[in-house]
């Protein structure tokens, strides 16, 4: 997968001349303080916001301008994990994950086969029939990860996936994400967590006030730290 992106936003300009190419199977950290444009960038990839200028490619396809009715099909190529998990409280773990497959019209047989596999991948097989409020934060986030990858998207976007979790749980989530990455899924993770970025030694793209200020292989959270 090739991701050549170059985005501009006008009005309140959230992003200026961003250029990046993220390859298939890469793990990229998107860092920067609040308001730096991380969320905007994610919204552009998810087609939540339109692109003012520039071009955005996903999976070799130009998604800069797509009709609204095509957007759902683009989103199926991108799994998303949020800081606040966004699970359905009245559905069990299994149902929450199965839901994502039902929506895209997967066959019941396929759902019954696939959901348990994914749940065991995130170590939640035993919790399949629990409801989200019976789970810890880390477990809820793993459900959310399971849901985001159940349809095998080539790209997974994680927006502060560890933001609400303690360091140990965060590490556990990172391990799950690494597993997924090792299976060939491209992961773009926006985060504030310095320790995680510094430990992982992955590509780091830093944004500041809408500008791309750094793009480093095996980088750290901030320049100072990575220079040390």
């Amino acid at each position: 997968m090739t991701n050549i992106a170059k985005e501009y936003r006008n009005g309140v300009i959230a992003l200026y001349d961003i250029n990046m190419e993220i390859h298939k199977g890469e793990f990229v950290f998107l860092v920067g303080s609040s308001g730096a444009g991380k969320s905007t960038l994610i919204k552009l990839i998810l087609k939540e916001e339109g692109i003012t200028r520039g071009k955005l490619f996903l999976d070799g396809m130009d998604i800069t301008r797509v009709p609204n009715r095509r957007i759902p099909y683009i989103r199926r190529k991108v799994g998303v994990v949020f800081q606040d998990f966004r699970l359905l409280p009245n559905k069990t773990v299994y149902e929450n994950v199965a839901f994502a497959m039902e929506i895209i019209g997967a066959r019941p047989r396929e759902i019954r086969r696939r959901v348990p596999t994914i749940l065991s991948m995130v170590n939640l097989s035993k919790k399949a029939s629990s409801f989200p409020d019976q789970l810890s934060g880390g477990e809820q986030q793993r459900v959310s990860i399971a849901r985001s990858i159940v349809n095998n998207p080539p790209v997974l976007i994680a927006d502060e996936p560890t933001g609400n979790l303690d360091p140990d749980t965060a590490a556990e989530i990172m391990k799950v994400l690494m597993d997924i990455n090792n299976r060939g899924t491209t992961i773009i993770m926006a985060t504030h967590a310095k320790e995680i970025v510094n430990t992982m030694k992955k590509r780091v793209i830093a944004l500041d006030s809408g500008r791309m200020v750094r793009d480093e292989e095996k980088g750290g959270y901030s320049v100072e730290i990575s220079d040390i």
Binding site: R69, P72, Y73, R86, I104
Partner: protein
């Protein structure tokens, strides 16, 4: 659907109200149409008064010319003597007064029946152009007035129904809006996972249509039984003149049911679509 019962009830009620008024207007219009039809039958005569002392060729000539017009069912000659007899009958008790006449003042006439009074205008003009015609009388005015009246009722009905349809679409769309926002989270997730708008919309539109159907069923029941009761009690009290023009409830039941269900479902679907449009914008 049961999560916001209050609004649901409001939606169903508003749809039934719209349909009930529609039913009343429909029955009114149908009944007036009936009356118009009947009047057309009763007043389908054109009287042509003739000049005195026309030759029999002249009479034949007029008769042939009239028959050549479209829509003419029959043409009957009524001599001045026959006309006087009819007049005496009409005057009944005062009929003897006519006996005192030295000379019959009435003209000979032709009574023409047409199958549609609407055609009468042209016919009358044609007849007036013939020789030996003194005067032509017909009842188009009455029919015209009735048709205009029926038109007013129809127009008023359409306006009222239009307004009410608008109101109930608004109520439905609000109800669905509440339902949608209570499931906003779910919709949001659905969108991120790549659900198409159609997929998300489906259940809500179904809900709107359900409201519509429910309202329709209620109003069908109320209109049918209400009208049936009215119809029967009118018949029982022998307001024959009045009931004569009322449509039999049994005849219109199926039509009413189909119309109500269609409109009800339409209002429901439209209401939901309007409220969803905003929510589904990416």
């Amino acid at each position: 659907m049961w999560r916001n019962r209050g609004m649901g009830l409001a939606s169903v009620t508003s749809i039934s109200a719209v349909l009930m008024i529609l039913g009343v207007v429909l029955i009114l219009v149908l009944s007036i149409n009936n009356a118009v039809l009947d009047t057309k039958l009763k007043f389908d005569e054109i009287e042509v008064f003739l000049d005195d002392d026309l030759s029999s060729e002249a009479l034949d000539n007029i008769e042939e010319s009239v028959k050549a017009n479209p829509g003419v069912i029959s043409i009957i000659f009524r001599s001045k003597e026959q006309a006087l007899e009819i007049m005496k009958d009409d005057w009944a008790e005062e009929g003897y007064l006519l006996d005192g006449l030295e000379e019959n003042p009435l003209p000979d006439s032709y009574i023409i029946k047409v199958n549609d009074i609407v055609l009468a205008d042209k016919l009358v003009n044609n007849i007036k152009a013939l020789d030996g015609i003194e005067e032509v009388k017909y009842y188009k005015d009455v029919i015209d007035k009735l048709l205009i009246f029926a038109g007013y009722i129809q127009f008023a009905g359409i306006v009222i129904i239009g307004i009410l349809v608008f109101v109930s679409i608004f109520i439905i769309s609000n109800t669905i809006k509440v339902a949608v926002s209570s499931r906003r989270r779910e919709i949001n997730i659905m969108k991120y996972v790549g659900a198409t708008n159609g997929y998300i919309r489906g259940p809500f539109i179904m809900e709107g249509v359900m409201f519509g159907f429910l309202g329709a069923i209620i109003s069908i029941g109320l209109v049918y039984y209400g009208y049936d009761y009215f119809y029967k009690s009118m018949n029982a009290k022998l307001y024959a003149l009045f009931t004569f023009y009322l449509v039999d409830p049994k005849i219109i039941f199926i039509d009413i049911a189909i119309i109500f269900l269609t409109i009800g479902a339409g209002i429901g679907a439209l209401g939901s679509m309007i409220s969803l449009k905003r929510f589904l914008n990416v």
